[in-house]
């Protein structure tokens, strides 16, 4: 399975390394050449020697997407640090390249919800943070129940 990840920041690079370790073919596209170093964190070889691919460019450049292998990608992950970029490039992957599975990281919960209804798989870290915080607070509240206020 070829996984194309656009945006090799903290999230993208970790997912890329994990998927490569699990035996998948992984190609990363990032506009910053320096993010290549992030892919190699914790590896004893270079990213390429480990079997990974890295392309410099943005997800709005069709040439860069093609070089990164979008035409034969099974999964497309949009994990740049911009919601708008992720939403646009995810739709390019869906509509122009017909990539089977397209996942976009969207920080804005409201929009993550809306695009999810439009056939996009969305991952919303903000929503996850909200849920975790609420769960933690409820647990704290429950443990204090019965105890006098103070």
């Amino acid at each position: 399975m070829l996984i194309l990840i656009v945006g090799a920041g903290r999230v993208g690079s970790s997912v890329a390394r994990a998927m490569l370790a699990e035996g998948h073919e992984v190609s990363c596209l990032d506009e910053d050449p320096d993010s290549h170093a992030r892919l190699e964190l914790g590896l004893d070889t270079s990213w390429e020697d480990a079997g990974g691919q890295f392309t410099v460019g943005t997800g709005l450049e069709i040439d860069a997407l093609t070089t990164a292998g979008i035409e034969r990608a099974d999964v497309f992950v949009a994990s740049t640090n911009g919601d708008n970029t992720n939403i646009v490039i995810a739709q390019i992957a869906q509509r122009r390249f017909n990539v089977e599975t397209v996942i976009a990281r969207i920080l804005d919960p409201y929009r993550a919800e809306w695009y999810a209804t439009q056939g996009m798989t969305t991952v919303c870290p903000t929503r996850t943070a909200i849920e975790m915080l609420e769960t933690n607070l409820r647990e704290v509240a429950a443990s204090k129940e019965g105890q006098p206020d103070g």
Binding site: I62, D108, W114
Partner: protein, 235 residues
Amino acid sequence: MGEREGGDYMLIVGGGKVGWNLARELIDKGHEVTLIEADRERYLTVEQELEHRVLYGDASELWVLERAGIARADMVIAVTGDDEDNLLICQVAKDKYDVDRVIARVNNPRNRQHFDLLGVKPYVSATDLILRLIERQVPRYGLVHLLDLADANIEIIDLLIGEDAQVVGSPLHELNMPKSSLLISVMRDGTGFVPTPDTVLQAGDEVLAVLDPAAEEELTRYLGVEQATVHRKPD
């Protein structure tokens, strides 16, 4: 304020020069306008003139659009300096809020294809407009795209008949014009006319042709516009 004859509600996103001036003009024409600006400093500047008609916020966020009253907007005009913002604001306006009319600004002409892909139109690219003006005023290009109806797969081009073009001196009915092309007008010595089958082309004639874009190269070659002067539409 101009008189108001059933003005529309226009939502403008982006308070740069384009957005601010548009807001002014539309207000003058009697429309109701809200301008959304995401930069605090810029917002404060524009607010001195437009007052309550400016809203501070990032229009990429749906609640900002909702607070601006997108649900009742007749038109959304996205003219920020960021193509992704303009694209998504218009997409959401159409698909989520059922706004019938949107206009998007394209900053980088290379992004036009993405606006087409996501069905956001019409869009306006200042770079393209200026390029077209330059092309129209610089005759050495030889060929000018007046109209490019990509969806209809048809275009109208303007070209200058070269000195030693093979078509010079023969009436049109004897010419072997490429398929899917038609000459629709001839400009000669400052006057224009619609050609008939008996029209004889002269060197220096400026002709308008309507054609299938695929026939462009064949047509230019046939009409003797030198290959080097054929202008390819910049991407």
